[in-house]
């Protein structure tokens, strides 16, 4: 375990995650002809929520305290497995851990909704479970494709044998689409739809639990946004020195974060919300695309 890198990752995650969420809100606002909130607004929201009192529902109240902290811990652990602005990653063979945590943290909110006694929470929770079951396979499959192409499950950036080209491109597109699908933003926010379900599974959380939940969710999103960096490395010509490599890594990391944020903002501001039936069709298409990417990567790499 590379502790300095771990510390950098965790610090970066906590500080930057709300900033990128704020950036997403800013871009959406600008596309809607508004000035929009400042980029630090999500931080202001989290800090304000931390000052409020904790209100627990009657039965199973302590779960309201547990779930947000769980989300945060799981999301931060995702950052223990990948590399961000450094070349090395905190742990060896972090790929499998990353995939598992990504899927698990998606289900936390679904379980939270299902255990609440509020009718809206229950409906939202059941929707979330259905959606997560449909979307997570795409994430798993496209990440697996990447790992196969990369040739290793360790997320550091010393370029191993990459086969850049069509399989990688398809894997990138599949990954970005699955990211869109499980981002929980319009057009795919039916589980947390504010105007239909009063927030769905989020309805029970308020004050500090909600603050931790927001932080945990944005950290998880940041972790998922960090993946395209590893795809982009493949398109950089080799022959760079170790020195160049570190700076390139930083630039590419932030480029990957910006790219994902912009894609999600564009989708959010130019679409209406999908219903379950339409969303399912989209998810199935994404799963098919991811599967194609996986098949191609298996064929090009053979066994690894």
């Amino acid at each position: 375990m590379n502790f300095p890198v771990l510390a950098i990752n965790i610090l970066l995650a906590i500080l930057m995650a709300p900033i990128f969420d704020g950036l997403r809100r800013k871009i959406t606002a600008r596309l809607q002809n508004r000035i929009g909130p400042p980029i630090t607004q999500t931080w202001y929201d989290i800090l304000k929520l931390l000052r409020k009192e904790i209100i627990l529902p009657e039965n199973g109240g302590f779960l309201v305290l547990v779930f947000p902290v769980l989300t945060l811990i799981l999301s931060l652990t995702m950052f223990a497995s990948i590399s961000t602005i450094t070349v090395q990653s905190p742990m060896e063979r972090g790929g499998i851990i990353f995939i598992e945590l990504a899927v698990l943290s998606a289900f936390v909110l679904a379980i939270a909704g299902s255990t609440s006694r509020n009718p809206y929470g229950m409906v939202g929770g059941s929707r979330e479970v259905i959606l997560a079951t449909l979307v997570e396979p795409s994430i798993i499959v496209s990440l697996t494709a990447l790992i196969l192409l990369k040739g290793s499950t360790t997320f550091d950036d010393i370029s191993r044998s990459y086969s850049a080209g069509i399989p990688l491109l398809i894997a990138v597109v599949a990954y970005l689409l699955s990211l869109l699908a499980e981002s929980g933003k319009i057009p795919f926010d039916l589980a947390e739809a504010e105007s239909e379900l009063s927030g769905g599974p989020l309805i029970e959380f308020s004050g500090p639990p909600l603050a931790f939940l927001k932080l945990g969710q944005s950290v998880r999103n940041l972790a998922l946004y960090s993946i395209p960096k590893f795809f982009m490395i493949a398109f950089i010509p080799l022959g760079l020195t170790e020195q160049h490599h570190s700076i390139t890594v930083v630039i590419l990391y932030f480029a990957s974060l910006f790219l994902c944020t912009i894609v999600i903002s564009l989708a959010e501001s130019l679409n209406a919300r999908y219903r379950l039936s339409e969303a399912s069709k989209f998810y199935v298409m994404v799963l098919v695309l991811s599967s194609i990417a996986l098949i191609l990567s298996v064929l090009t790499k053979g066994t690894s």
């Binding site: 600008r30 596309l31 809607q32 002809n33 508004r34 000035i35 564009l266 501001s269 130019l270 679409n271």
Partner: protein, 178 residues
Amino acid sequence: MKNILRLLKIGIARGRVTYRYPKDRTPVPEGLRGRPELNFDVCIGCGACVKACPPNALVMDDHEGTRTIKLFYGQCIMCGTCEEVCPVDAIRVFEEFELASLNREDLEEVLQFALVKCKSCGNYFTTKRVLENTLSAYSELVSGYGEEFIEKIFLCPDCRRKDWSEVLAEVYRGARHE
């Protein structure tokens, strides 16, 4: 897809329509109905605005020789009816609409006027200024009549009615004799 691009174009091309209030303010057109203001120097305390005000933001209270007219902006609907009915143009509607305050007193305007006693029955019936205004507004008309006529202005409506009916009865009796 085509429509998504059209929407994107609108989002980019039309620029920003929101602005940073209170640093930037949009212009308001002329004739905006904002806060009404009472001008104490001109107001005669007749109470026409009080009678006309639909939400009773203007209230009038006569008590022991003083008439108090109070305007509370919290209840005012900025309709401008008071401005329409005022006979002396003492209440006017300005274009100011930013009236928020932490103090209730900021939103109240209170005017007080001295009342005049009826020369016959001794009850207070109207403000001194109303009578002065009547005299000056109709100064040409009354200049031809004597003091006795002008004295009748200082009677309250009930006493004036009694007085005039006596005069009419006298005239009637006189006419019958002819």
